[in-house]
Symmetry: C2
């Protein structure tokens, strides 16, 4: 396969995966493009490669910076901003895990905890079903949360080493 065709397919695939996981398709595509580029790209480059407007490119670049998945890079003698993506997949994975945890899991945990105590007869079938499910869920999400914390502290080889050792 030719490089250009492969790039297109990669960008397209990554964009689709992103939108299946609740990430704006274009944001995923911009990220994909930067991931496979050898050097830094400017807004203009991204507009051209992905056929998107200036506003769209700008907004998604900004968002990727909020996620700390990409960085600005200054080119001496040029006023334009250039962007590079972090290339280390382990760091990327940890960054995404950290961000989604912070933005999405933490708020849910807070709500779940606030729902553990319900007024009324503890023997009531409906109340029992509710508190039981909420309790189990809160418990489970807590454990998941702690597992992610561990992964965030770990080193890639150590982590996958330990995980894969568990299979044997």
């Amino acid at each position: 396969m030719k490089l250009d065709e492969a790039k297109k397919q990669f960008i397209q695939t990554w964009g689709t995966l992103g939108s299946e996981w609740g990430i704006n398709r274009t944001m995923a595509q911009v990220h994909a493009l930067l991931l496979i580029s050898s050097g830094a790209l400017c807004t203009e480059d991204i507009m051209q490669e992905l056929n998107v407007s200036r506003g769209n490119a700008n907004m998604n670049l900004r968002e990727l910076m909020n996620w700390t998945l990409i960085n600005k890079e200054l080119v001496p003698g040029d006023r334009k901003e250039y962007f590079v993506a972090e290339k280390d997949i382990w760091i990327i994975a940890k960054t995404i895990a950290r961000e989604r945890k912070r933005r999405e899991i933490k708020p849910v945990l807070k709500v779940l905890n606030s729902l553990k105590e319900i007024e009324g007869d503890k023997k009531d079938k409906e109340i029992k079903a509710f508190t039981e499910t909420v309790g189990n869920l809160s418990n489970f999400v807590d454990k998941m949360d702690k597992s992610v914390d561990m992964m965030l502290k770990a080193d890639e080889n150590w982590f996958f080493g330990a995980i894969l050792k568990m299979i044997r």
Copy 2:
């Protein structure tokens, strides 16, 4: 807090989380409703509780059955279909992991593998950047995939036990 208010909040929260992770809000809400119900519910119940149309309720119930997160339940002497959700959070988590893996990760892995071989000068900067990123990514997704496989085979206590032991 009163049960009714708590139920509403739970359903709302779960729906929001679902849509942040690429799952139809109503599907997540129907699932939430069944998760905290003590008994089986019929389509009519769900339409009322969630204020959705018959078509919508039906479609999302069917989809939840495709995910094997809920089951039909027959009530003797009643022609209506009733639905119950699997309540074991560990089983639910494994089911979701299995399904997303099958539907979303597997296809991506296939594409990534097909993109590993690129025509042209292996020393070329662009080609090198591309094959390196794709290679690393494919490698990483592979390891993730295997980790999920392990989790799918594991028992909850054993799994979290082993994971949490890794921290110490």
